[in-house]
Structures are given as structure tokens and as C-alpha cells.
């Protein structure tokens, strides 16, 4: 054996290797521990940093608040309140001390001492009673009862403590103890109540003093700050989570976002530049959606449970299906529960997105639940009517059979049963008739409610010069920047075919010839009548007016005068009625055949051929301003002056080529033009786009990024906590809206019809964000149904009403909710002080102001007169005029309920009874009305044309039917609170005891009048008659003459 070469298996040493690897293993253990404690728990360092910066911030803030509070506390007012409180406390302090002594040193210890033996006996009796209850034999029961009596007779000695520390022995039986305890308890209650009564003035004064301090401090008091700081000193580094058991929600967002709900408002700058610690920017919103009930992620998205990294917590990686919304889309979170609404308070950007979807015609191609639902609803109503008529026929047949069977049966009882059955069916049929009647009304309503986004193309032949059409189709946005009409990617051949089809499919009719108007007068009318609430005029920077409807700057280049006058005079006037049953426009011949005059309007809506409801209106939301034909001519003349001087459209003879028509029709159908326009032959076209109601939760894989998928994934995301590039819903929508053809990029599609057809809406970046927000929110909500905003009370009326308000652009003229501005407010003309009061009235509080029955009548006919329609029923003194919208009954109902609900009014409205006015009171009120202190008739219209020229307020004759008395009184007392800046003077009344009296000089008859003056005037106004008005007018004239 050689010693030199020992067997390596035996002799080699592994110690070095073991040492190294064990050391490495230990290191990995340390690493693992570190990872466990800090690496996967980054929120810990966030919390440590938060405590540091927040303490610093509070340290700076507290002395400031403290100084301020010291100032307040040094004020005489505070000292007075403090003194009063202390005096009140001192006055009763001796009595209070005595009560406290008696309760704490006598009653309580004695009660406790006696309670012990009493409980002992009571449990013994309780046990025996239970035995009685479960014992069967009466004799054993009796013996047990005897035992109870024995126990009750036992005498126990209780050691009752005295206030001086000594004890007093006293013997009690059970009943005696019971009585004694009751007595002491009653005594204690009495004393405590007495104490409260004694301290009441002092307590009230203390509350008053504290309120005085808190009223002076806007944000938080120094005490609160100190409390927060004390809390920080004991800050516990731990996960902070919201757990909503109800919906299985765990949100740990506040483990890092620690400042979210702090009482102090924390800004990024205040928190050392760390945005993560700032307060929630909208405390109001958090009040409605309490995070303890709603959590964070239901609104914001993100993975509420994850705390391992920002990427995971914000859910911005491939596998989290509900990533956190970016700031510009944060309101997408609202949509998932507020899906039934068109206007959601505090969600302006989402509202704007919905409005674009509605107004720009997205809904013409894409179905979205709730948007443009009228055609669908109409179909289903018609379906129901058909079903009911079938049912009716069936029952009628059955009545016949049953009666026949009853006539022939021999059994009397059976016959009676059958007759009764037949009678029941008859009654039920009458019920069906009632239902059909309602459905017919609904159908008539719906036909009125159906509107199209774009103008009817049936009328082109009468309406415009044909050469304009191909130019327009080429690029509408170039011809009229900002137009609703999107730009389609059409080539020349397509443009020619489409133009030819549109031109040739137009209906022909006779439009009365109109003489020319005066453009100067027309301009004045255009700018003051209210046209500009929807239409804008001027190009580029000179653009003025609303964006709801078209810019009219170049109308002079294309429109026919005769047609334009008819349109301005009544835009709803149709050339021919459309029968959806026969699917065609009716002609005069159809009427003639039935011997009927060719008359179709809102009063003549039945088809002469089949009795179905006809479409007798243009499907435009544009209302009639009830202008005279002369004024319409003037406006038309003015609009026609608006054109480019050098306009020149190439001749388009091909538009009369019948060979192009078929191809044109195919293309019009293919591009879905009928989604927005009424087109002959395509009235019943369906939407061509995909439904978008749940587009936001469509699996990403189903969104066709085509060849851009990899690019989208590889590109950088807008935020560094996002690992997905723009391969997201947001990215898809934004790119698609920016360039609807983008996903055709690089695709080989030689056939043009295979390419993406969505046109370009030329949206700006903010608009794209708004639409994206809307689409991102359009999801299959993860929240349970009961969290969805579907109120069953008056709030539902508000939801419904907003749809009508938006549909007809009421907010172009009226302020409907606080903080909203109208188009009128921005028009240059209305900045002038002379014109300020010419703006249409604000409708804030409208529901509490007007009687709903009156409002219904007014909305139906704003002239409030069948004969004299060239006026505004309430405010004839305004140049702008409430137009006639020809609302359907359903829409009027919705609007009236909307206003009532907005002002928290009960429905139905019951007119309150007012105390009848006595003759003497009438004289007094009349005197006050015409007195110099209250020149009511100076501003309010009286019906005298000469006076009304200068009037700036409605006629009193309207009050009785129009107004609610309660509102009227509030208005007289404080008009400036309801409508800041109103011409109605404030301070007309002053408080005198518990009544209001007129503040100015009152006529002598008012001396010794004990009642409320404001109330008197209200009663006077609500019992006003035309005679009374005349009398007033003449006395006012006399007064003025004096």
C-alpha cells in the first residue's frame, strides 16, 4: 500500500466546500428573511416615510393654527361666551357636588352591598321555579312551591356601608330586599336627571362657545392637529385595509396611500413631493361613496389585495383584468354603476364622453343600451300591440264557442258556469282594449321621439344645390371644421356613386316660393331669438354660439332660399309622411284614393291606407321658434349672406346618371349612412357597428390590434408602473379614435370593402380621452347589482329627465344645475349690461317654483295661446323665446317629474289652500303694490303693450296658475339667494317678531295690521284677476302722473 496515494474517497476533505456552500445557504436565508420582511412588503417603507413627512408637515402647521386659535380665544366675544359658561357652571356647582356625593358615596355602594344576598336568594328561587315547571305531578309541584315560600321567608343580614366608612348591619327578607333595591334605583335615576337639568344651561353655553371657535376655523383646529400628531407618534406599521364583507372586497390601497382620508388636506408639495401621500382630491365624492362601504378599486380599478409592488397593486400588468384607470380616464369608474345616466353629477369628463357618443352619432352605428332606444322600443310596442290583438281575437272566438255550448247544454249549472266564463272573458277583453289604447299612445309618442343625428337626405333635391354634395363627402371637416359628420375614406368613384344615389333617391315636392328678406333684421333675429344656443356662426376665432348643431358660416353656398325659409319657420315640416308599415313615403295620391285631404301633421298622424301611425315630422331635435314667415325670411336672407366669396364647386352631371344609383345605394348601406340620416329606401336599416355596451370588459384578445399587437406590447406605457405598453383597452380605444383606420396598417386588403369602415370623427385629444373614459367604463360590472345606481324613487326621474334635457339641448339656453354655464352666458352680445337680463331664465329650482300642471301646458305650447303663437307665454319681454319642441307626452311627463325631483318636490302636486283675501286686505295690498316703496308694476308686465316694452318680469296674472305660493313668498323675501344678480330687489321685507313686514314706507292702512305682509301679498297675487290688474294699472298710471 502506498501512503503517497491515499484513496481520495476516504482521505479527501469536503470541509472547505461544506463551509462555502453552508455560508451561501445562510446568506440565502438572510436574503429570504429580508425579502419576506421588506422585499415583498414595500408598503412598510412607504409608511415609515409617511410618518416622517407628515410629522414634519404637522410640526410646521400646528403653531400656525395654534396662533390663530389663540387669537380667537383672546377675542372679547369668546371671553364673554366662556365667562357665561363658567358662571352658569358655578351657579349650580354646589348642588351638583351634593348630588354626586349622594349617588357615588351612598346609593351606589349600598345598592352593591345589598345586591349580593339578593342575587343569592333569587338564583335559589329561580332554580326551584324551573323544577316546578318540569315536574309532572301536582303534589311535587306543591311541595316545591312550599320550598320557595320557605326561601322567601329566610332572613339575611346585609352589611350596608355608610358614607363615613362604617358599616351598618340590617336584616332583610327577600321581598324587603327587592323593594329596597327598587327604591334606591329610583332615587338614583331621579338624582341623575336632576343633575342633567341643573347643568343644562352650562352645557348649552359650552356648545355655543365651542361652535364659535370651530366656525372661525376653515380647515381643522389645532386640537385635531394635535390629535393627529399624537396618533402619528403611536403609528403602527401594518397593512391598512378596507374590508367590505358584503361584496367580498379587500382593498389595501391605504397601506401606501396613507393620506387619502386624513382630516388635513395634504398636497404633493406639503408631503415632500410624494404624490402617493396626498389626500383624495374630492372629499365631496368620498362622502357619497364612503370608502368603508365602497372600497377603492370598484371605482379606480387596480388590484386592491396586492401590496407587493406598484405594478401589481395598480393592476397594470397583463394578467389583471381590471387595471387602475389613468387620471384622464378616472371617471370611467363611475360609468359601471351609473350606466343608466346621460348626466352624472361630478363626472364632467364622463358626461362629455357620453354626449360625444350621442351627439356625434357614434350611436348611429354602435348600439349602446339606453342610447337612441326609441326605434327599438317602438318595434317592441308594435309587437305587443299585435300580440294583444291576437289574444283578443282568440278570446272572442272562445266567447262564441262557450255561449253556443251553454245554449245547448242540458245541465243548468253547467250552462250558468259557461255563461259566467263568457262574461268574464268579455270583461277581460275590455281590459285588453285599455291596454291597447295605452300602447297606441306610447307608439305615437315614440314616433315623435325618434330623432336622427344628421339631417334627412330625402329632402336634398329641394334643399340644396347638388354640386355641393360630392365636395362635402370628400372631407366634411375641411368644409366645416368641427362638424358632426365624420370623414369617410372614400375614393372618387365612391363619392360619385353615393352622391348620385342620394340625389336620385330624394323625394320631390313643392316648396312655396318665398320673397327675399332683410339680412340686417335677420341677423338681429338670428343672434337674439335663440338660434345661437345650438348653432354657431363665424369661422376660426370668430366662432360664436353653441356646438349642439351645425356651424352655419357657409350655408349661403349650398342652400335654397325657399326651403331654408320653410325650415326656419318650422323645421319639423315634412314634404311627405312616412309609413313604417308600408315602408315608404306616402303621396297625395294615397290620400286622394281614400277621399282625404293631403294633410299630415301632429293632429293627423294616421295612415290613410292602414291606419298605422305615420312619421309626420322631420326627425330633427330642432324646434320651431314660432317666428312669423317674414322673420323666417329675414333670418334665411341673413344666413344666405354667409359664404366664402370664392366658392366654386365643379359640375356634377353624373349625379343624374341612373346607372350609378344601385352602386350608390350599396355603398350608402355599406357605410351605414342611414344610422344618422333618413334616406329613402333605407329607413329600416339596422346599425352596422358592434355593440359597445360592454366594450370595456371585452377580453383584450378580442380587440383586433391586427399587425400592431407586438408593437403595442413593446412600446412604452404612459406610466412607469405599467408593463403593458399600449396593448390595453385604453390604448386600443385611443388609437382607434385617433385614426380609425390604424388597425389596417400593413394589412393586405386589395378589396376596399374589406378595410375598416369606421370614419374619422376628427376628435381632439381631450375629446378622445372623454370617449375613452366612457368606453373604459362600459363594462360588465364586478359590483353586485344592488350597488348600481338604479333608484326606485324620485332620483329615477332625474336620471330620465337628463336624457330629454340632453336630447333637446335645454342647457344651451337654461341653467339647469348649479355651476353650469349656458351658451348665452358666453355670447359676446350678452356681456353687455343692457343685454344681461335678456338671457333665458335659469331653471334651478324650477320644480319648486312652478305648478307641474302649468309646466306641462307650457312645455306643450310655450306661447300659452292657441291663436297668438308669435310670442313667449311667460316672458314676452325677452327677445329670446322658448321654442315649441313638439315634445311627446312621455317627454313632457319626464321633464315635469325631472324638475319636481331636482327640487325635492312631492308628486303629484296638490295645490295648497290659501286663506281667502278679505276686501280690506285687498285694498291694502293694492295700495302697497302701487306705492312708491314697491313699484312692482314698473318691471312686471301688465299686458299693456306700451308698458310691456320696458317690462323685465312676468305678468302677475300668470302667478295663480303658474307658481307655487311657498316659492313665491321665499322669492319675495330673498330673491338674491335664488338667483344671484337678479333684477328683483332684495330686502323688501324685514323681520318683525315672528312675521315679515314691508321694509319701505307702508300705506296708512297697514297700521295695526297684525299679520304677515309677505303672506298678504302672496295671497293677493294668487287671487289676482284681470279686473284687479286693470284697476292696479290705472292707479299706477295715476301714481306715476302725480
Amino acid at each position: 500500500m502506498s501512503d503517497l496515494e491515499k484513496d481520495p474517497v476516504v482521505t479527501s476533505s469536503l470541509s472547505k466546500q461544506l463551509l462555502i456552500w453552508t455560508a451561501l445557504l445562510m446568506l440565502s436565508l438572510v436574503w429570504g428573511l429580508w425579502d419576506e420582511v421588506y422585499g415583498t412588503r414595500p408598503w412598510k417603507s412607504y409608511q415609515a416615510r409617511f410618518v416622517k413627512v407628515y410629522s414634519q408637515f404637522l410640526g410646521k402647521q400646528r403653531p400656525k393654527e395654534g396662533d390663530f386659535e389663540k387669537q380667537i380665544k383672546a377675542s372679547a366675544e369668546y371671553k364673554k361666551l366662556d365667562q357665561a359658561m363658567q358662571d352658569a357652571e358655578k351657579a349650580v356647582s354646589a348642588q351638583v357636588r351634593e348630588i354626586d356625593r349622594k349617588v357615588n358615596e351612598e346609593l351606589v355602594p349600598r345598592t352593591l352591598a345589598l345586591n349580593e344576598p339578593f342575587q343569592d336568594l333569587r338564583s335559589e328561587i329561580g332554580a326551584l321555579t324551573y323544577q316546578i315547571e318540569i315536574t309532572k305531578s301536582e303534589s311535587s309541584k306543591n311541595s316545591l312551591r312550599a320550598d320557595i315560600d320557605k326561601v322567601k321567608k329566610k332572613v339575611k343580614t346585609a352589611k350596608l356601608p355608610n358614607p363615613d366608612g362604617s358599616t351598618e348591619k340590617k336584616d332583610f327578607t327577600y321581598d324587603q330586599m327587592d323593594r329596597q333595591l327598587q327604591d334606591w334605583k329610583a332615587e338614583k335615576a331621579r338624582l341623575l336627571q336632576q343633575r342633567v337639568d341643573l347643568l343644562k344651561p352650562a352645557t348649552e353655553l359650552r356648545a355655543k362657545r365651542d361652535k364659535f371657535v370651530s366656525d372661525q376655523i376653515a380647515d381643522v383646529s389645532a386640537d385635531t392637529l394635535a390629535g393627529v400628531q399624537r396618533g402619528l407618534e403611536r403609528f403602527d406599521i401594518a397593512i391598512r385595509q378596507i374590508h367590505v364583507k358584503d361584496i367580498d372586497l379587500v382593498d389595501r390601497c391605504e397601506s401606501c396611500h396613507l393620506g387619502t382620508r386624513e382630516p388635513v388636506t395634504l398636497t404633493k408639495a406639503a408631503m415632500g413631493g410624494e404624490a402617493v401621500f396626498t389626500s383624495h382630491p374630492d372629499k365631496e365624492l368620498l362622502k357619497i361613496h364612503d370608502p368603508d362601504k365602497f372600497g377603492c378599486t370598484p371605482c379606480h380599478g387596480g388590484n386592491g389585495v396586492a401590496v407587493a409592488s406598484t405594478v401589481k397593486a395598480h393592476g397594470r400588468h397583463t394578467y389583471w383584468l381590471w387595471p387602475m384607470h389613468y387620471p384622464e380616464n378616472v371617471q370611467a369608474g363611475c360609468q359601471q354603476c351609473h350606466v343608466k345616466e346621460i348626466v352624472t353629477e361630478m363626472a364632467d369628463s364622463l358626461n362629455a364622453g357620453r354626449e360625444i357618443f350621442r351627439l356625434r352619432g357614434c350611436m348611429g352605428c354602435h348600439r349602446y343600451e339606453g342610447f337612441d332606444h326609441e326605434p327599438e322600443e317602438l318595434t317592441s310596442v308594435n309587437q305587443e300591440i299585435r300580440q294583444i290583438s291576437q289574444q283578443k281575437a282568440e278570446w272572442e272566438r272562445e266567447i262564441g264557442f262557450t255561449t253556443k255550448k251553454a245554449d245547448t247544454t242540458r245541465d243548468n249549472n253547467e250552462a250558468q258556469r259557461l255563461y259566467a266564463h263568457a262574461d268574464n272573458l268579455k270583461v277581460r277583453i275590455s281590459g285588453l282594449d285599455a291596454k291597447t289604447e295605452q300602447l297606441d299612445m306610447r307608439a305615437a309618442s315614440l314616433i315623435r321621439e325618434v330623432k336622427k343625428v344628421g339631417p334627412s337626405l330625402k329632402e336634398v333635391r329641394m334643399k340644396m344645390r347638388k354640386e355641393w354634395i360630392p365636395v362635402w363627402l370628400q372631407d366634411p371637416n375641411k368644409w366645416r371644421p368641427g362638424t358632426k359628420m365624420p370623414t369617410f375614406r372614400l375614393d372618387n368613384e365612391e363619392i360619385q356613386a353615393i352622391s348620385a344615389f342620394i340625389w336620385q333617391s330624394g323625394v320631390t315636392g313643392i316648396v312655396p316660393t318665398q320673397s327675399n328678406g332683410d339680412p340686417t333684421r335677420g341677423r338681429e333675429a338670428f343672434e337674439t331669438r335663440g338660434c345661437m344656443a345650438c348653432h354657431s356662426m363665424g369661422e376660426g376665432n370668430e366662432k360664436q354660439g353653441g356646438t349642439f348643431a351645425a356651424n352655419l358660416s357657409r350655408v349661403g353656398e349650398k342652400d335654397n332660399h325657399d326651403y331654408l325659409v320653410r325650415w326656419i319657420h318650422n323645421p319639423r315640416e315634412r314634404t311627405a309622411p312616412y309609413c313604417s308599415f308600408e315602408k315608404r313615403d306616402l303621396t297625395a295620391d294615397d290620400y286622394k284614393k281614400k277621399g282625404l285631404p293631403y294633410v299630415f301633421d301632429l293632429d293627423h298622424t294616421k295612415c290613410p291606407n292602414d291606419g298605422h301611425e305615420l312619421q309626420v315630422q322631420q326627425m330633427t331635435p330642432m324646434p320651431s321658434l314660432r317666428l312669423t314667415i317674414e322673420e323666417a325670411r329675414d333670418i334665411a336672407a341673413y344666413v344666405e349672406t354667409r359664404k366664402h366669396v370664392d366658392f366654386n364647386y365643379p359640375a356634377a352631371d353624373y349625379m343624374d346618371d341612373p346607372k350609378l344609383k344601385a352602386r350608390g345605394q350599396f355603398l350608402v348601406r355599406y357605410y351605414g349612412c342611414a344610422g344618422c340620416h333618413e334616406i329613402s329606401g333605407l329607413e329600416e336599416e339596422q346599425r352596422i357597428g358592434t355593440e359597445l355596451t360592454k366594450e370595456g370588459s371585452k377580453p383584450l384578445e378580442r380587440l383586433d390590434f391586427a399587425l400592431l399587437g407586438h408593437e403595442a406590447q413593446a412600446e412604452k406605457a404612459p406610466s412607469k408602473d405599467d408593463t403593458r405598453g399600449w396593448y390595453t383597452h385604453k390604448g386600443f380605444f385611443e388609437h382607434k379614435l385617433q385614426d380609425p383606420a390604424i388597425y389596417d396598417k400593413g394589412k393586405e386588403k386589395p378589396n376596399k370593402l374589406d378595410r375598416l369602415k369606421m370614419p374619422n370623427f376628427n376628435l381632439t385629444k381631450p375629446e378622445i380621452d372623454q370617449v375613452t373614459t366612457f368606453l373604459l367604463g362600459s363594462v360588465d360590472s364586478t359590483m353586485p347589482e344592488r350597488y348600481h345606481y338604479e333608484p326606485s324613487d324620485a332620483r329615477q326621474d332625474i336620471i330620465d329627465g337628463w336624457w330629454v334635457i340632453a336630447k333637446y339641448n335645454c342647457m344651451g339656453c337654461h341653467q339647469v344645475h348649479v355651476g353650469q354655464s349656458t351658451v348665452f352666458m358666453k355670447l359676446a352680445r350678452y356681456q353687455d349690461p343692457d343685454w344681461k337680463d335678456q338671457k333665458p331664465p335659469s331653471l334651478i329650482g324650477e320644480g319648486s317654483r312652478v305648478d307641474p300642471a302649468w309646466l306641462m301646458r307650457f312645455l306643450n305650447n310655450p306661447a300659452l295661446s292657441e291663436t297668438d303663437t308669435n310670442r313667449d307665454g311667460v316672458r314676452p319681454y325677452l327677445k329670446a323665446r322658448m321654442p315649441t319642441f313638439s315634445f311627446s307626452d312621455g317627454e313632457i311627463r319626464k321633464l315635469v317629474r325631472f324638475f319636481a325631483a331636482l327640487s325635492s318636490q312631492a308628486t303629484p302636486y296638490i295645490v295648497p289652500k290659501l286663506v281667502p283675501i278679505s276686501d280690506q286686505e285687498r285694498v291694502m295690498a293694492r295700495q302697497l303694490f302701487s306705492s312708491e316703496g314697491a313699484p312692482c308694476l314698473k318691471c312686471h308686465a301688465t299686458g299693456d303693450p306700451k308698458h310691456d316694452q320696458r317690462a323685465t318680469a312676468p305678468n302677475f296674472l300668470l302667478a295663480k296658475e303658474r307658481l307655487k305660493p311657498g316659492w313665491t313668498e321665499r322669492w319675495m323675501l330673498h330673491p338674491e339667494m335664488m338667483a344671484p344678480g337678479t333684477a328683483m330687489p332684495s330686502g323688501l321685507f324685514r323681520r318683525d317678531g315672528d312675521r315679515w313686514v314691508f321694509a319701505g314706507p307702508t300705506p296708512a292702512s297697514f297700521n295695526n295690521y297684525p299679520k304677515d305682509h309677505a303672506d298678504l301679498l302672496v295671497r293677493y297675487m294668487f287671487q289676482f284677476t284681470p279686473d284687479e290688474l286693470n284697476r292696479l294699472r290705472s292707479s299706477a298710471a295715476a301714481g306715476a302722473g302725480r
Binding site: S2, E5, S28, T318, Y319, R702, H710
Partner: protein, 324 residues
């Protein structure tokens, strides 16, 4: 070369074991064979020197005269195992700290992921689905694999190679294993993981996994290529071809197992082998038939893959009950 794509595939926590496999399997195969060859040299030495063979029974290298014939498990084996345990623990620690469980989004029954892959250890089976009828690839073959593994101890009549690495003494067993494990199992897993992309299409490493990719590929059944019509005729034709395969492959395999000479066109494809002859003589009929069946089926797999890839042949034998 799409490096972004390559990195995405390689770095998915799911695929890390496969990437490891790519290096570890060849390494240990090489390492084991190296030891086996060293031992084989010792075996030759011992066989040549009967004296030494008598005194030194240690069958593994390194070996020197005078070294102990045997060593104790404790500490000489256990300390090595302990070291190995430490190293493996360390690897597992680092792995578990750095890579999280590859959880993805909640499953959506209306949306199948693409590519939709089985767990990595089943990817070989999934890859087989490309070449065989699901009944074969999904049921018959997996069952046969299990049965085949179970019968190995019963058909293995070679007593050598216990407790030491050797190639020479277990040549056919080792080759069969390498063929079955590395060629048929590991390489299929690697293909399934790294090569198969969306639509289960073949993407070479570095190609972009494009969901829009389209490939023109028509696979035909063998009877159709020969223009055979009629169900019965196709059936009979398929059965004949399969029968032919069984006979030919069985005959060749028999020559290998039995160690007899196979001469084709004057060239000896298989040489005579006295050792295998001896083993063959020990086998019972049942052992032999089982082994033959297993080997025939095993060889069928790569042949089928080959004719599918090379000749676009979908099935050879089409019957209403199964397809091969």
C-alpha cells in the same frame, strides 16, 4: 431576430425548468456516460488480470491497488449527499425568492388562451397530439408508457450493472433509455415549450409569435395519397401497411435482440453479438413478445413524426375507431 420575444418566452417562470432542462439533461447524460466509460476501462483491466480481479472488487473508477475494497456509507457517502442537499436547498431558495408562482388571469370559459399549453411535464404528450389521433396520443400511448416502465424489471434479464455505471454491459438498455427519454420525451417537451407558438405552429427560436400568422399546410391520409377509395379498401390498405411495418421492424429488432447477423446487400448492418445471444437465450417467450411489442411501438413514434413532417401524412391507417 426578435430578442424581445425570445426573452419573453425564456423568462416566463413556467419555462424556467425547461431552460434548465436544456443544460442539465445533456450535462448529466455526458457525466454519467463518462463515469460509465471509465468503469468500462476498469472492467477490461480486471478481466485481463484475473489475480487483480480476485483481490479488488471495487468496480468503479478511480481505483488504485491498495485502496480499500469498500468504504462506509457514513461518513463517506453521506457527507457528499449532505453537500448535495445543501447545494440543492440553496438553488431552491434562490429560485423561490426570485421567481414567483406563474399565476395568470382568472380563467374565462368563453376565451381559450392561444397557445394553450399543458404543464411543462405534459408538453411531450401534447406535442404527440400533433402527430396522432387524440385517442392514441392521449390515452393509448400514455398508458403504454406507464405499462412499459412497469415491465422493465420483468423483461430485463441482464444481471450486470448493479451499483455501478457501465455502458459496455448495458448498451442496449442505455441506448433505449436515451432514445425514449431524451429523444421522445425531453426533446418533445422542449419543442412544446419553446418552439410551439400561437396556433401550435412551429416558430424557430427568435421568430415573433405572431397571432396573425397563417400557414398553408394540407395533410393527407396515406390511402388518399395512393388514390384508394372506399372505406373498406382504405381500412384494408392501412392494416396491410401497418402489418408490413410490424413485420419489418419486428424482424430487424429481433436481429438486434437476438444478437444475430443482419446482412443487407452484402453489408453487415448488425454484427453478431455473443453477449446478447446469451441474454436472448435466457428470455421466456412472454418476456420476448412484450419487449418486442414495446419496442415496435416506441420506434413507431419517431417514424410517424418523420413521415408527418416530411410527407404531410396525417394518418396511415384510418378506421372508424382509431387512427394511426
Amino acid at each position: 431576430m426578435d430578442l424581445h420575444q425570445l426573452w419573453t418566452i425564456v423568462s416566463v417562470p413556467d419555462n424556467v425548468p425547461i431552460v434548465l432542462l436544456l443544460f442539465v439533461v445533456p450535462f448529466y447524460t455526458w457525466y454519467g456516460l463518462r463515469q460509465a466509460f471509465a468503469n468500462d476501462r476498469l472492467i477490461t483491466q480486471l478481466e485481463a488480470d484475473p489475480v487483480m480481479a480476485k483481490t479488488h472488487h471495487r468496480k468503479i473508477q478511480p481505483w488504485k491497488p491498495g485502496w480499500a475494497k469498500e468504504v462506509h456509507v457514513w461518513p463517506f457517502l453521506l457527507r457528499i449527499e449532505f453537500l448535495a442537499a445543501i447545494i440543492v436547498t440553496l438553488i431552491l431558495m434562490v429560485w423561490s425568492i426570485t421567481l414567483n408562482a406563474p399565476l395568470e388571469e382568472p380563467s374565462n370559459p368563453t376565451l381559450t388562451m392561444n397557445p394553450s399549453k399543458a404543464p411543462w411535464y405534459f408538453l411531450g404528450l401534447q406535442e404527440m397530439l400533433v402527430y396522432f389521433d387524440p385517442w392514441m396520443a392521449g390515452v393509448i400511448f400514455p398508458s403504454l408508457i406507464i405499462v412499459g416502465l412497469m415491465v422493465i424489471p420483468y423483461i430485463d434479464e441482464n444481471p450486470l450493472g448493479n451499483g455501478y455505471y457501465t455502458y459496455k454491459q448495458r448498451k442496449s438498455a442505455i441506448l433505449t433509455f436515451i432514445f425514449g427519454f431524451i429523444v421522445l420525451w425531453v426533446s418533445m417537451i422542449v419543442i412544446g415549450t419553446l418552439i410551439r407558438g400561437p396556433g401550435w405552429m412551429w416558430f424557430w427560436p427568435g421568430m415573433t409569435w405572431d397571432h396573425n400568422r397563417l400557414e398553408y399546410m394540407v395533410n393527407q391520409d396515406l390511402p388518399d395519397i395512393f388514390g384508394i377509395k372506399g372505406r373498406l379498401a382504405k381500412n384494408i390498405f392501412g392494416a396491410l401497411v401497418m402489418g408490413g411495418y410490424v413485420v419489418v421492424s419486428g424482424w430487424i429488432l429481433h436481429k438486434v435482440i437476438a444478437g444475430t447477423k443482419l446482412v443487407v446487400a452484402g453489408k453487415a448492418l448488425i454484427k453478431e453479438n455473443a453477449f446478447r445471444k446469451k441474454i436472448y437465450a435466457r428470455m421466456s417467450l412472454l418476456q420476448y413478445v412484450t419487449m418486442q411489442a414495446m419496442l415496435i411501438l416506441m420506434v413507431m413514434l419517431p417514424i410517424k413524426i418523420l413521415i408527418r413532417l416530411a410527407f404531410r401524412i396525417k394518418y396511415v391507417w384510418v378506421t372508424p375507431w382509431f387512427n394511426i
